[in-house]
Amino acid sequence: MDLEFTPVETEFRAEARAWLEANVPGEPLPSGDTREGFAAHLEWERRLFDAQWAVVSWPREYGGREATLFEWLIFEEEYYRAGAPSRVTQNGIFLLAPTVFEFGTQIQKDTLLPRMAAAEDLWCQGWSEPDAGSDLAGIKARATKVDGGWVLDGQKTWTTRGAFSTHLFGLFRSDPEAERHRGLTYFLVPLDADGVTVHGVDRLDGDEGFAEVFFDAAFVPDDAVLGGIGDGWKVAMSTTGSERGLTLRSPGRFIATATRLVDLWRRSGETAEPGLRDDLVRGWIDAQAYRLFTYATVSDMVATARPMGVESSLNKIFWSEMDVALHETALALLGADAELDAGSPHASDGGAWMKGYQFALAGPIYAGTNEIQRNVVAERVLGLPRK
């Protein structure tokens, strides 16, 4: 065991910190889940790409730095420490890209990845449908084989930032006879294709962060298939694994939240109820534990050259509930002022805690509800009998 960073890692951290300190906007950008905010975030994404910070762990040929997993963790820690803008490209680079690296043809890699890294193509995820939420195998959107490609029909919903994206990756039922997890295929779809309609949907917090996407005989060519025909479930599960696990919620995010919470306490702590002190420390410990758990997982992955395993479900439960708890403690510290939203003259930290709380509440729902995750932990980690 060696908990010293190597000189290379330390140098990497210093470089990232210096660049971020020089480049992160002084004022927070407007929300990336609104139209004007999205544009500002796109600009930021391109600045990141130009400085080679957009996709640090990718090969250099696709715009990366070939950073190790630990360097990636370090970059994320510095990114959140600097209060840098949220990544509107994240569904592409964190969810789709690992799948492309694993299942894509060389041509798909060469075509898709550089444009994704440069934020030229903006990807959204097309998993959920009105009747397929927790039960993803209930997907009904269809892909029908035609000459030279496929015709897509159906509807996707709860598509994060769908209204601002250019492309969608999603699952469609290519074999109408097959049931549940079988007969699904993973497609890559440009949202400007004929027959595709995107309808923005406002979220809980008022931002247009969701979309419904309708497919009405939309044609895509054969090379829009990622992985094998009918292999969609397997291919998608690899993405879902990374969504739950390491890449979606990096520890740096929660360390930064816990640190901001300590700062908030220092500003308001004298008037706070004594019990909040214990809650605050609980949240702070959890953030440290999450970081260390991730470090242990990564150390093990590096040492044994294994991929992320079932710990991704443990992870998802832990970070999503920690995130809610950290924000609850912050709102309790704010007392009556907690209700003051962004745009309120007297809102503490510009209303960031209330906004963040609403965002955090999505955590236990998306990427597989925590009820599903607990089933997964019980059955696959502990070996309890299925229903």
Binding site: S128, D131, G133, S134, D135, G138, T157, W158, V201, D202, R203, L204, D205, G206, F210, E273, P274, G275, L276, L331, A332, L334, G335, A336, D337, A338, E339, L340, D341, A342, G343, S344, P345, H346, A347, G351, M354, Q358, L361, A362, P364, I365, Y366, T369, N370, E371, R374
Partner: protein
């Protein structure tokens, strides 16, 4: 010993529930978010007609001469409908305050407020905003222990944005005039009573908000199918909603008991002789706030993504819960107040 409302009290509650079912569907709450107050104004007029706004006013001032105890079930119905408007601040706080001050102030304002001809806004120390300050004809504001009746023309208002957009209000800047309505010990006593009433009235509203959130979630969980079964047949959903039912069931008697205590004094002598009206109010606000927050949390989780969308009505109730659970002392503040009383 009879810990039960009278049939008359239950009938008045039912009448208010009927009014709100007709006049205050979710669309009215949603319209208020966009600044369309025609619906809430109509509801307010209806409540005035039924005597609810002036319920605690004396009959001489056009009121019903009733008490916190009579009002509590009604406030729960108002919460259940998430009806917008400062009913707690008006009917529960301002009316009895003006009555207590009496004289020409009461004679002038109470009848007009009770009949809905005038609006009054109340600013209590520690709150994030003075609700409906902009539309008020009279402001009741505190400066230390001194209570002032303030002309809206003499204040400047900085509008604040609540996460619940149907809660409209702001910070009020003003100069205390030379003639407060009450000062010193008397002012302090009035302030304490106002704070207790605001907390208890809000607790009663929270109960209703929680009930509504539980009801709609039960309906959704019964209708929504995943994995070939209603999601509400799964234990994970059942047990969450059972927890909400338990929390609301045991918060309710605390709210009713505090209303009695405010209306008639503590009574119910027993082992826990440390009890005072303040302790009763704090128990009610802490328990009702926690129960409603639990209801909101589980309602969203059981709804999943659909509940997370703006188009769905769920968030209108959730955000009211967040605002009211924090208003007039959150659960921890009230528990700390109890700690100081009993430890």
């Amino acid at each position: 010993m009879r810990f039960r409302f009278t049939d008359e009290q239950l009938e008045l509650r039912d009448a208010v529930r009927d009014l709100l079912a007709n006049e205050c569907p979710a669309s009215v709450v949603r319209a208020a978010w966009e600044g369309d107050m025609s619906g809430p104004d109509k509801v307010w007029a209806g409540l005035c007609d039924m005597g609810v706004v002036g319920l605690m006013a004396t009959e001489a001032h056009g009121g019903l001469g009733l008490s916190d105890l009579d009002l509590t079930l009604i406030l729960t119905e108002v919460g259940r409908a998430a009806a917008p408007g400062p009913l707690v601040e008006t009917a529960v706080v301002a009316v009895p305050l003006l009555e207590k001050i009496g004289g020409s102030v009461a004679e002038t304002w109470v009848p007009r407020v009770a009949q809905g001809e005038s609006r009054v806004a109340v600013g209590l120390p520690g709150e994030s905003l003075v609700l409906d300050a902009s539309g008020a004809d009279l402001l009741l504001l505190w400066h230390g222990d001194a209570l002032h009746a303030v002309d809206p023309a003499e204040v400047s208002i900085t509008v604040e944005t609540s996460v619940d957009r149907s809660r409209r209000g702001g910070r009020v800047a003003w100069e205390p005039g030379p003639q407060p309505l009450a000062v010193g010990e008397e002012g302090r006593r009035l302030l304490d009573a106002a704070l207790e009433r605001a907390a208890l009235g809000t607790a009663a509203m929270l109960l209703g908000l929680g009930r509504h959130l539980l009801d709609v979630t039960v309906t959704y969980a019964t209708d929504r199918h995943q994995f070939g079964v209603p999601i509400g047949s799964q234990q994970a959903i059942k047990h969450k909603l059972a927890d909400v039912a338990v929390a609301l069931a045991f918060a309710e008697p605390l709210v009713h008991r505090a209303a009695y205590s405010l209306a008639r004094g503590p009574a119910l002598v027993d082992e826990s002789a440390r009890e005072t009206t303040a302790v009763h109010v704090s128990m009610a606000k802490a328990a009702a706030g926690d129960a409603a927050e639990l209801a909101a949390r589980h309602a969203l989780q059981c709804h999943g993504a659909i509940g997370y969308s703006f188009e769905h009505d769920l968030h209108l109730w959730m955000k009211r819960v967040w605002a009211l659970a924090a208003a007039y002392g959150d659960a921890r503040m009230h528990r700390e107040r109890i700690a100081r009383a009993i430890l």
